[in-house]
Symmetry: C2
Subunit: 412 residues, 2 copies
């Protein structure tokens, strides 16, 4: 069977990821390959570290990507700090909280899982009560839950954990680079993200950062692989070799201890994507995401659809819309992509079929995408027989919202 | 601190990887991102599966990449089939054999490690004797050892393993797509590779294939993650979530069970790289690698340097040259890259400093690169004071070799 050259349709990606990469990132990624110990590549690794610290708002010594998708970074952190029997509290409030729990359980921890109704978050005071009661070594939680659009405040819990010498591990996959996230100020010991959401870089890397409290555990558990040091032994060694943070850290550090081969083009892409964030300014970028998220909500409200989220705990970059009565949710998504070239996402778990998800992340978080999505969605819903849609009102409301910002317009 | 746009030097990569990606692969990778459930992306995943089967020479149902570098695929296979206490034999003959041993040991296996002098391989009869004696569930071995350039024959051992119901797992990272490799004919149960060597695709993916014997174990150990199925339980579950082949297989299969987010641009690149292999023809491609490997050896011999490898067990795509007496090996590599723009690689382990490694892989395996490398190397060695270099003879010998091929010239 013969295959043609690659043909990729051009879509506007209004999902909670993977989202459109900045064209300048894709251009950077088309650069030729250089060797893994080429001084130019090592310099790029060092720059990427510094740029990541800027985006994570941290002074940590360590900040680098794990060579895998977002969950590889989460597993690397959790498996590197958790030893069998360690007490770990996982307050879940959606699919990705359960993912953390899954990893914690597989690591052999004594895990306590808290469960929350999908769409809700935890009251920090209650969470602190649970932590006091269980007395864990580690608390692992999601910041923004892209399955529900809910955003968990972290500051109080982080402060309590630090004061009580508990490690606070946070998944900021959908929020980093688009929603306020302060690693140091919020006393987060390890933060894990992905590239394919607000960083607007293709999938394949999991940028993370951690402080010396985590670093100390890594130092204690370090074992160099046999191919480099036959004598290295450690009874407390980390279970995985591929996701062994103590070794990956050395590869990203001055010793350049060879672990995997760094994915060259992904590194080009991440470094360029981070540089563009620095150029825009991280706070300007967060503001841009907030504004477009508000425009989307205003538009949806005026359209007459029902927003699933509690607006006061909603993540600014993910919005869940309830499927109008009598309409097949899958058909809404199909029309959006097939007829308008706009991708939106379905719901997960208990929300599947009942809601669909709209993302406004990274390069795709632009006025033209927000307005285009609202216009297409109104038409799509009417086409599929939804009742009570105020045709045209959603787009106008968003346009009014932008106009009323006056001089405070986002750049795109 | 402000950062400039990405600047990447253009080098000829004559290392054993990562090597130059075909420019058409890089172009394919510059395509815009589409969603992970976009029908176009799912179709691309299916095509990639079929193209991988062609390159692996297999009729296996399963062939897909793990989203990580080559070692992620090896760990995924080993950890998914090995359960604590399982007997596993690892005959190592260099750094990457030790890497397999490292992973096997971390998986909790009852491992027997065989060690071999670096540069040598195993006599298949002796290997079979060792297998008989130890009686393992799994034998895990490297096909081509890129740290030494040695190539292990696999056919007899594979036949014995199949006849005795032993799982035969092979790392073909540097050989797949450049050196003869027959998954089915050699009775290999699972084969693991990387993209950044003879496939000429950027690093970041680990393509692998396995048969129903492995599939049966995955089926027995399958546990769906909590975020998708809260009731799924399995006491024999695989330890890792990220590298859980039983779940990754489902993501690549018709159920499309969501696991990670597939790295979109890497998928574009792999699919295009495999398509180019099909266009060239896998056997033509292997022949091209063999011819250029021979030209390099002929040239090096005429240059007066000493080749480290036994020529009758050398991998056609990696050649180790002994560092001439009185010359600093690191300086040779520095001059090659800084003055000639040609990257060659240093030695690992006991061969560090004593040898350097030249690769002829993938897109970089071209006549112009072979001749340029020989010319630059002669000049570099003379410049650094090596004795006995027959200046000019190496390049002429390689040119003569190509001329004598007559009509049998490689395409590039």
């Amino acid at each position: 069977m013969a295959y043609s050259e690659l043909v990729v349709p051009k879509h506007s990606i209004m999902t909670p990821g993977p989202v459109e990469a900045d064209p300048r990132v894709l251009q950077a990624m088309a650069n030729p390959i250089i060797g893994q110990f080429d001084p130019a590549l090592l310099h790029m690794m060092d720059e990427t570290k510094e740029l990541l610290k800027y985006v994570f708002k941290t002074n940590n010594k360590e900040a680098f990507p794990v060579s895998g998708t977002a969950r590889s970074g989460a597993e690397a952190v959790l498996n590197s700090i958790i030893e069998p029997g360690d007490k770990v509290l996982v307050p879940s409030f959606g699919r990705f909280g359960y993912l953390l729990a899954e990893m914690v359980e597989r690591s052999g921890a004594d895990m306590k899982l808290l469960e929350q109704e999908w769409g809700k978050i935890y009251d920090p005071e209650e969470l602190i009560k649970e932590i006091k009661e269980f007395g864990p070594k580690v608390v692992a939680i999601v910041h923004g839950e892209s399955s529900t659009g809910a955003l968990q405040p972290l500051e109080e819990v982080g402060k309590f954990c630090r004061e009580n010498d508990i490690l606070f591990v946070v998944d900021c996959v959908p929020t980093l680079g688009g929603v306020e996230f302060k690693t140091d100020e919020w006393n987060i010991d390890a933060a894990i993200s992905g590239t394919q959401k607000c960083l607007a870089v293709p999938t394949g890397y999991s940028p993370l950062t951690y402080n010396d409290r985590v670093g100390k555990i890594l130092e204690e558990r370090k074992k160099i692989e046999m191919g480099l040091d036959l004598k290295s032994e450690n009874p407390r060694r980390i279970q995985s070799n591929y996701l062994d943070l103590s070794q990956i850290q050395e590869y990203w550090g001055p010793s350049r201890l060879n672990h995997h081969t760094e994915p060259t083009t992904l590194l080009y892409g991440l470094r360029e994507g981070l540089r563009l964030i620095q150029e825009e300014g991280i706070d300007n970028r967060i503001k841009r995401h907030t504004i477009h998220g508000e425009a989307l909500v205003k538009g949806l409200q005026a359209s007459g659809v029902k927003i699933f989220n509690d607006l006061d705990t909603k993540m600014p970059v993910v919005t869940l819309v309830e499927t109008p009565e009598g309409v097949d949710e899958a058909k809404i998504r199909a029309t959006m992509v097939n007829d308008f070239g706009i991708e939106i996402a379905g719901g997960f778990g208990p929300l599947a079929g009942k809601t669909f998800r709209i993302g406004n992340m990274g390069y795709g978080c632009r006025k033209d995408n927000i307005l285009g999505c609202l216009a297409a969605l109104e038409a799509t819903l009417v086409y599929h027989g939804a009742k009570g849609i105020n045709v045209g009102d959603g787009v106008q409301a968003a346009m009014e919202f932008y106009k009323n910002l006056g001089d405070d317009q986002p750049a795109v």
